[in-house]
């Protein structure tokens, strides 16, 4: 058993010994064990703030495209965020392809932003990459901005027919979510 020390100095002030005492080892082991245990106990407290199962269950949706005519766009909701689904006209596709990619702030071709074989379907989040407002331009008669795509009324960011940012403060193009065509008229988003 550990014997009585001559003096008992405050913690951390113990005079240096030649060897490590058993008590030092036990002390470090016990405190480390408690420290690791405490840190692990924090994990569920942090993890509970992640999206719950019911939120994740809504993270993919199916959209029926059959009623969207060329030149029309719809707004729907994906992960509680607005989503644009736009059926581009041939003129709009041509206009998007005519742009010099190197002149763009966020260089991407229309082909990169659409699915192969479905290049007329432009599916993007309706969340301005500046500060999160919904750009105008999906509904009939809304201001499509100087580049014929979308225009964000909050701070004036303008997007072109491929929903790429062309002017204003937005740092990037409207985000294209992951999606897959399950048939010619249905698409699964997410």
């Amino acid at each position: 058993m550990a014997t009585v020390e001559e003096t008992h100095p405050p913690e951390g002030e113990a005079q240096t010994h030649d060897g490590v005492r058993r008590r030092d080892f036990i002390n470090i082991a016990a405190v480390s064990f408690a420290g690791v245990g405490g840190a692990i106990a924090v994990l569920p407290l942090l993890n509970q703030m992640n999206p719950a199962a019911d939120v994740l269950a809504l993270s993919s949706i199916e959209v029926d495209l059959s009623s969207i005519e060329r030149g029309q766009a719809i707004k729907t909701i994906w992960r509680k965020q607005p989503l644009f689904v736009r059926n581009l006209t041939n003129e709009e596709i041509a206009e998007a392809n005519a742009v010099d990619i190197s002149s763009l702030r966020d260089p991407q071709t229309l082909a990169e932003r659409t699915a192969e074989g479905h290049e007329n379907w432009l599916i993007t989040l309706a969340v301005c990459t500046h500060l999160g407002c919904i750009p105008l331009g999906a509904a009939q008669g809304e201001n499509k901005g100087p580049f014929g795509g979308y225009f964000c009324p909050c701070h004036g960011s303008a997007y072109d027919t491929a929903a790429r940012v062309r002017s204003g403060p937005a740092p990037g193009n409207l985000l294209v979510p992951e999606y897959e065509f399950t048939s010619d008229t249905t698409v699964t988003i997410g």
């Binding site: 550990a2 014997t3 009585v4 020390e5 001559e6 008992h8 405050p10 913690e11 016990a30 408690a34 994990l43 569920p44 407290l45 993890n47 509970q48 703030m49 992640n50 719950a52 199962a53 019911d54």
Partner: protein, 430 residues
């Protein structure tokens, strides 16, 4: 605020010196739970339960704040939101079971802490205010636990709220109006649930505040000890850190293991299956009982079945509240100058009779309201009051205590076998 031989806080690092002159928080910690708080060298494991109660409160507050992020205090969705926590929220089941079982563990350590105080007469001068503040904490904890139990809006929640708030309707003249005011309606409803949620969130912080007063009041005379005799000199004490931080740390380990066993293997053992049925105001569960920690008081409430001058209902309420209010007068009911039950042969016997009595009350309180439990409850209730109002005052005058040791050190080194745990600490050689 401490003994003159307490270790002095002497910061070495320039930053700590800087802080000490501006916000001496490290000094406060050092003097409260550090090496600057000299503590009797002979504390046994019953002195662990204060820090454990503090730990239990911290667990309740942390898990509670997290649960409140997902819970909805609305009668339409409260029950569903609790199930949502159990099924959908990440780790939600763990947090809720920790919170529910944590409440039981809080009361368990609170009761052991209180019986420690009763056995070693920790309520006697100069620590009366420590005892009184402790009782305030106990009452606040009971109110908090009751309101928390209402929140899941299950059958037991609803009918518990109905019954417990019904207690107030027994008060003459203002009872009915008070009852309606408490509920915000004529029976528990959305208004009740919302105010209970608000207060259930608030009261733990009030408890934390009273705990600060409790510890402040304790640290003036310093901790009591198993011999009950006062500290006479430096040889009677050891610094709180590392001696009692290590010992409390061991207690924390045991506490957490037991809590983990309940949470992971028996999470609903202490609960009622009825509370997994959503509240139904048209059907009372067959056996409506509160959580186990209220059983002794529930037995006292039900022990009064006959009108005698006052209605039986009012007697039950008076007795139930009286059984706790009585404890506030304990420092003045037990006049014996000897603190520790170890040196009071008669007191010791009656103390254990009281422990058994409270356990019996608890058993009856958890059983159906029928014979023989009613009769046993009545006898046990009689003993409970007689213990404090008759037996304790009498034996404190008549019994002849055993001779006290001359000092804590003599008690420790003279007969090592009779003391447990902390007394086995090595003696600091002087």
């Amino acid at each position: 605020m401490s003994f003159p031989w307490a270790e002095q806080y002497t910061p070495k690092h320039p930053f700590m010196k800087y802080m000490d002159e501006r916000l001496p928080l490290p000094r406060l910690v050092y003097n409260s739970v550090g090496a600057g708080y000299p503590t009797p060298r002979n504390l046994n494991f019953f002195w662990n339960f204060g820090s454990l109660a503090g730990l239990a409160l911290v667990i309740q507050i942390i898990t509670g704040i997290v649960l409140a992020m997902h819970y909805a205090a609305n009668t339409d969705i409260a029950f569903a939101s609790v199930e949502y926590i159990m099924r959908d929220v990440n780790s939600g089941w763990l947090l809720r079971y920790l919170h529910a079982n944590g409440a039981s563990f809080f009361f368990l350590v609170l009761y052991i802490h209180m019986f420690r105080g009763l056995y070693y007469s920790s309520y006697k001068p100069p620590r009366e205010v420590v005892w009184l503040l402790g009782l305030v904490i106990f009452l606040l904890a009971m109110a908090t636990a009751f309101m928390g139990y209402v929140l899941p809006w299950g059958q037991m929640s609803f009918w518990g709220a109905q019954v417990i708030t019904g207690l107030f309707s027994a008060i003459p003249l203002i009872g009915e109006a008070l009852h309606t005011w408490l509920l915000g309606g004529f029976s528990p409803d959305n208004a009740t649930l919302n105010r209970f949620f608000s207060l259930h969130y608030l009261l733990p912080f009030v408890i934390a505040g009273v705990i600060i007063l409790h510890i402040w009041a304790l640290h003036l005379p310093g901790s009591s000890n198993p011999t009950g005799i006062d500290v006479k000199g430096p040889q009677d004490t050891v610094p709180f850190h590392p001696y009692y931080t290590a010992k409390d740390g061991f207690g924390v380990g045991v506490f957490l293991i037991l809590l983990a066993i309940m949470v992971f293997f028996l999470p609903n053992y202490l609960g009622h299956a009825d509370n997994y049925i959503e509240a139904n105001r048209l059907s009372t569960p067959a056996n409506i009982v509160p959580e186990w920690y209220f059983w002794p008081f529930y037995a006292i409430l039900r022990a009064f079945t006959v009108d005698f001058i006052l209605p039986a209902k009012l007697w039950g309420v008076i007795a139930m509240f009286g059984s706790i209010i009585l404890l506030f007068f304990l420092p003045w009911l037990d006049k014996s100058p000897v603190r520790s039950g170890n040196y009071r042969p008669q007191f010791k016997i009656w103390f254990w009779v009281l422990v058994v009595d409270v356990v019996v009350l608890g058993y009856c309180g958890g059983s159906h309201a029928e014979q023989p439990y009613l009769m046993i409850s009545q006898l046990a209730t009689m003993y409970y009051f007689a213990h404090f109002l008759i037996i304790l005052p009498i034996i404190s005058r008549t019994e002849r205590p055993r001779p006290l040791p001359n000092s804590i050190t003599e008690a420790v080194l003279g007969k090592d076998d009779s003391v447990t745990g902390g007394a086995a600490q090595p003696a600091p050689a002087e």
